[in-house]
């Protein structure tokens, strides 16, 4: 069994530091890994990233993250990534990493994702340059996520995004803004790789549970949705010889 803790949309700044820590200190007893589904900061500054590093660093379990739209607000995603990486947090963007969880190799591939909408009600790569750039971004990020998922050499695959891969987990949000909350291309990428679980955030008024067209379980772990410091999901797999939980097997670029 693999135990995955996850939360997104924590929007950390100085006024929040310490708030999650009591629950986070329990993680080694509850989970093999913590996945952070983007919007870690408010405005994507280095100072805020340091607050995230203080809150989510040194937890005793590996921490894997993707960035969200808030983390891009100050146009410094590389600086945010560097601060988090220096704190021991693995940041994925079209990349993957593999952990050994008690003898089972857990592969996580992640990307921020983007909007665009869902099948039959989505934006098209057509018309003005701005529209082509928008949907081109959607397609490019999803393609990279699919490649990263398919490249994972592991026993169990989990996809981590900020934007949603399905409309199911957006229920509660206004229908009119679905195209800004996710895109079907992420779902297609997840369905292309034998993924066991897909985690995302971004939709604060959404719903926790959904599935992709291919049957992959999707969970919206945005903090206002799960209403706790993190959720824990037990992925039931083959029992294997015990080894050190969370030992890093391979990290992608």
């Amino acid at each position: 069994m693999i135990r995955i803790a996850a939360v997104g949309d924590v929007h950390i700044d100085k006024d929040v530091v310490g708030r999650y820590r009591p629950a986070l200190e329990e993680l080694p007893d509850r989970a093999d890994v913590l996945l952070l589904a983007g919007d870690l900061t408010r405005h994507g500054t280095e100072d805020e990233a340091r607050c995230v590093a203080t809150e989510f660093g040194g937890l005793g379990v590996p921490v894997i993250a993707v960035l969200g739209n808030h983390d891009h607000q100050s146009d410094q995603p590389d600086a945010v990534t560097r601060v988090l990486t220096d704190a021991g947090i693995t940041v994925l963007e079209g990349t993957g990493t593999v952990l050994d969880c008690g003898g089972t190799r857990l592969g996580v591939a992640g990307a921020k994702g983007f909007g665009g909408g869902f099948a039959g009600r989505c934006a098209s790569n057509f018309g003005e340059p701005e529209m082509k750039a928008f949907v081109g971004t959607t397609e490019r990020i999803a393609d990279r996520l699919g490649e990263a998922l398919r490249a994972l050499d592991c026993d169990v695959k989990v996809a981590l995004t900020h934007y949603s891969p399905v409309p199911d987990t957006l229920v509660g949000e206004p229908l009119e803004i679905y195209p800004f909350l996710g895109c079907y291309q992420l779902g297609r990428a997840i369905d292309s790789a034998g993924t066991a679980l897909a985690l995302h955030g971004h939709a604060h008024h959404g719903t926790e549970r959904g599935t992709t067209p291919g049957g992959v379980r999707v969970r919206n772990v945005a903090h206002p949705v799960i209403k706790q410091a993190y959720s824990v999901y037990h992925l039931l797999g083959d029992d294997a010889e015990e080894s050190e939980p969370g030992a890093l097997v391979h990290a992608g670029q």
Binding site: V16, P22, H43, H204, H205, P224, Q228, A229, H234, L235
Partner: protein, 93 residues
């Protein structure tokens, strides 16, 4: 600090343009940066719903709306996102 919406700090009827401006201010004003709040109108009252991560953030939202949209009847139903450890896990076979 940027001072947005200074041009609209006058008493105005609560219409959909005010609703739209409040929604955009909540996201775009760097002192707030909240996309996850719902803004709606009921008769002459503007209603804010959702969760934020600290009491200070909620107070700042109310202060800015009162400053930039004076005279608006405001109903604030913004909670503090809970940060406790989970009581149980979900088993996924």
């Amino acid at each position: 600090m940027t001072q947005h919406h200074a041009d609209i700090a006058t008493n105005r009827p609560l219409d959909e343009y005010v609703e739209a401006e409040v929604q955009r201010m909540l996201t775009e004003d760097g002192r707030v940066a909240e996309q996850g709040l719902t803004v709606s109108r009921r008769e002459h009252t503007l209603i804010l719903c959702g969760d934020v991560e600290s009491v200070q953030r909620r107070d700042e939202i109310v202060r800015l709306i009162r400053e930039q949209f004076p005279g608006i009847d405001l109903s604030v139903d913004i909670g503090l996102t809970r940060a406790g450890a989970p009581a149980e896990a979900e088993e996924l076979s």
